[in-house]
């Protein structure tokens, strides 16, 4: 301790901020664009706060729209970090151990976006304190939304604190004590599954909505998340590999690709199972699925959307499975982008909106987000990406330094 008396937690924080201020011109321009997008989002949100949610495309029939769709999808992205955490910490996989910090950064960014989407969707955001146990009234355990508040915030805490402890130890030049953080790693693995299942239960637990009231929803959520999340992580790793000194080995991409392929195939099997159930013998409960896939009473806003998603999903899964480029980034990365977008389309709007159409009184309307919803959503995406860069940028500098120090010690 005495040798590092100059260093402490405060200087750790200051150094992280200082490193974040540095960076080349390209990085600064990127940051500026993100900042401008956020300002645009805040402007749009102020418009919504003043005039109410009537400036969105939502209605009493489609009472949840683009915000909740994005929230739902991003929960999956957040949970997908577990696909790096599990091999890295439990099986001590050295390739994943080097990149796990990036996965955790992505998870924190995704969770910040999730919580922001929930907040902007609230009609009374100023009353959000009514949710805080103790000073508010928390309907736990009855309300699944209350469970979701617990699991999302808990997961955010776990994914922020464990990496922070490890990075801080590295900053101080010492090996992090495994006995201290391992229990929390195990907890966070369990927790990652729980944020997913609880978010699925949010919808699955509503008999009022037959399209959602489906026991396959939770497991399918997991499968699609473990395809979309690692796809995003591959993309982030590619950016890190190309634009920083922190080089990622090809093996890591290969392993991630295998995870994606397996999850994407399970996801497609379950999708097929759902479609079979809805259309082999269509019942009154298949109306929402009919609306989604074929349109109803002349309303067919989602038909091209869902078929695009399914086709793109199939193509991307096949490309990733047969791997024609042998992990060549020129093929691997576009396939990951396509898979990510396809699952975003399906697990976002393609899941939330048809659950509400037709209304329980049989009325069919279409839903289209307005510019306000699109702008706020863009702003939140920019916020999420900003959070990820602010976390990963100093983390990689620290990891690189620690690696060098470690290697030189070993050589001696």
């Amino acid at each position: 301790m005495s040798t590092t008396s100059q260093k402490g937690f405060l200087s750790f924080i200051f150094d992280c901020i200082r490193w974040n201020m540095q960076g080349n011109l390209l990085f600064q321009i990127f940051r500026l664009i993100l900042f401008a997008t956020m300002v645009f989002g805040i402007y749009a949100y102020s418009h919504q706060a003043r005039n109410g949610l009537e400036v969105t495309g939502m209605s009493n029939i489609v009472s949840w729209g683009f915000y909740i769709s994005n929230f739902t999808f991003l929960v999956g992205v957040a949970a997908a970090a577990v696909m790096l955490i599990m091999p890295a910490y439990m099986f001590h996989d050295p390739d994943f151990h080097r990149v796990v910090i990036i996965g955790e950064g992505v998870a924190v960014g995704a969770l910040v976006m999730c919580l922001s989407f929930i907040t902007v969707d609230l009609g009374g955001p100023l009353q959000a304190w009514h949710l805080i146990p103790g000073i508010g009234q928390f309907n736990f355990p009855s309300s699944i939304l209350a469970w979701d508040v617990v699991v999302l915030n808990g997961y955010l805490l776990l994914n922020a604190l464990v990496p922070m402890y490890i990075l801080y130890s590295h900053y101080m030049g010492r090996k992090p004590d495994e006995r201290k953080y391992r229990p929390f790693v195990f907890l966070s693995i369990f927790w990652a599954f729980s944020i997913h299942m609880v978010t699925a239960f949010l919808y699955q637990g509503l008999p009022a909505r037959p399209f959602w009231n489906n026991p396959l929803m939770g497991p399918r959520f997991l499968a699609s998340a473990f395809a979309a999340g690692p796809s995003l992580i591959i993309l982030v790793l590619a950016v890190v590999h190309n634009f920083t000194n922190y080089k990622i080995e090809k093996k890591t991409f290969h392993k991630l690709r295998l995870i994606i392929v397996i999850s994407a195939i399970i996801n497609l099997i379950m999708l097929f199972s759902e479609i079979f159930k809805e259309f082999y013998f269509p019942t009154h409960h298949s109306i929402a699925a009919t609306y989604l896939f074929f349109g109803l009473e002349g309303h067919d806003a989602l038909v091209p959307w869902i078929w695009t998603s399914i086709c793109v999903n199939l193509v991307a899964t096949l490309v990733l499975a047969f791997n024609p480029g042998d992990n060549n980034p020129k093929i691997l990365l576009p396939a990951c982008i396509l898979l990510f977008v396809a699952i975003w389309m399906e697990k976002g709007i393609g899941l939330i909106v048809p659950g509400l159409i037709p209304s329980p009184m049989g009325e069919v309307v279409d839903y289209l987000p307005t510019w306000v919803e699109l702008a706020v959503t863009l702003g939140i995406f920019a916020l999420g990406i900003t959070v990820v860069t602010w976390l990963i940028h100093p983390a990689l500098i620290l990891e690189e330094r620690y690696e060098k120090m470690h290697n030189s010690l070993e050589r001696e």
Binding site: R50, E54, M58, D121, L122, F138, P360
Partner: protein, 322 residues
């Protein structure tokens, strides 16, 4: 951060108030608006320099931090009602009487709808909108009437948007509203306990406690809930000033509302506005615990059924055929 926002809201309310008032009250209100506007200019973001806005700011401040309605003592309830009445006076010049009357002993409300009698005139809908201070701009309605083909019994297969002379031969009509379920999925869903079942069986919302997440709307299998997407707009002269805290008081923006079987009327021993307005006598309302009530007579002597009974929500709203 939020005070300019609030200011905006006030100005808007005044605009609406100006819409339909006499010349004198218009002048009075515009002078208040001018004073408030001036104060806003003088004090920037901090209302409070001007006595008018200081009082209003204070009231809003206390309102913001008030408790959940069910946790309030009667004294605290009286206080919040006094504040709400004063705010309505300050902001719109309205003299409200807001009640906090609790459920009556030995009462459980039930409703029965005679589908052979209803002829689709929609007087109930009109009366409901008026009684319950529903937003005129979005044309919020708690009651829907569906025109049905013979052979159907599920309103969701009927036509809820008919616009022609009624009754039409060989069609019948079914009214739908909140069914005040005994096992309400909406109450289970609410993350802040802002909606609950009262001892007389009515499911109510504490509009000031609701955070506007709309999970209850997704959970309701009968489409019984509405959301205030914008600020509710009701011309001053159309506002029903006899209100109940859990009933027809004017809702804030961004909160969920629903049919309360006209809690402000029924707890005074009156019929809900819809039942009173019905010209054909298709609507039967009463106390399920009173063996001599009309509703008990209907349940005993008529063939009754309920909607989506398989969901186990146990609605207290029956349909019957003469």
């Amino acid at each position: 951060m939020d005070s300019p926002k609030k200011k905006d809201g006030q100005m808007k309310k005044m605009d609406i108030a100006e819409g339909g008032t006499t010349r004198r009250s218009f002048l009075k209100k515009s002078s208040i608006a001018a004073a408030a506007g001036g104060a806003a200019l003088m004090s920037g973001c901090m209302p409070g320099k001007d006595t008018q806005s200081a009082e209003e700011f204070g009231l809003r401040w206390e309102e913001y931090f008030k408790k959940h309605y069910r946790l309030m003592t009667q004294e605290e309830r009286d206080e919040t009602i006094a504040r709400l009445e004063r705010l309505a006076k300050l902001q719109r010049g309205l003299d409200l009487q807001i009640s906090s009357r609790p459920a009556r002993e030995q009462v459980l409300y039930g409703y029965a709808f005679n589908i052979s009698r209803c002829e689709g005139y929609m007087d109930c809908v009109k009366a409901c909108v008026k009684e319950n201070n529903q937003d005129r701009k979005s044309r919020t309605q708690y009651i829907r009437i569906f025109e049905m083909e013979p052979g159907q019994l599920d309103p969701s297969t009927g036509d809820g948007k008919y616009f022609h002379e009624v009754p039409v031969d060989n069609k019948f009509y079914m009214g739908v509203q909140c069914f005040q379920c005994e096992n309400p999925p909406c109450v289970k869903a609410c993350p802040t306990k802002a909606t609950w079942q009262e001892p007389d069986g009515i499911v109510v919302v504490d509009y000031d406690w609701c955070i506007g997440c709309r999970y209850c709307m997704a959970a309701c299998p009968y489409w019984g809930r509405r959301f205030n997407w914008g600020k509710p707009q009701i011309p001053n002269e159309e506002v029903n000033t006899r209100q109940h805290y859990l009933g027809n008081r004017i809702r804030p923006m961004g909160k969920v509302e629903k049919c309360t079987f006209c809690v402000q009327r029924t707890r005074e021993g009156k019929l809900p506005a819809c039942a009173e307005a019905c010209p054909t006598g298709a609507r039967v309302f009463g106390n399920l615990l009173d063996p001599n009530s009309e509703i008990r007579y209907v349940l005993k002597h008529k063939k009754v059924f309920r909607m989506k009974e398989e969901l186990g929500t146990d609605p207290k709203f029956w349909y019957f055929i003469d």
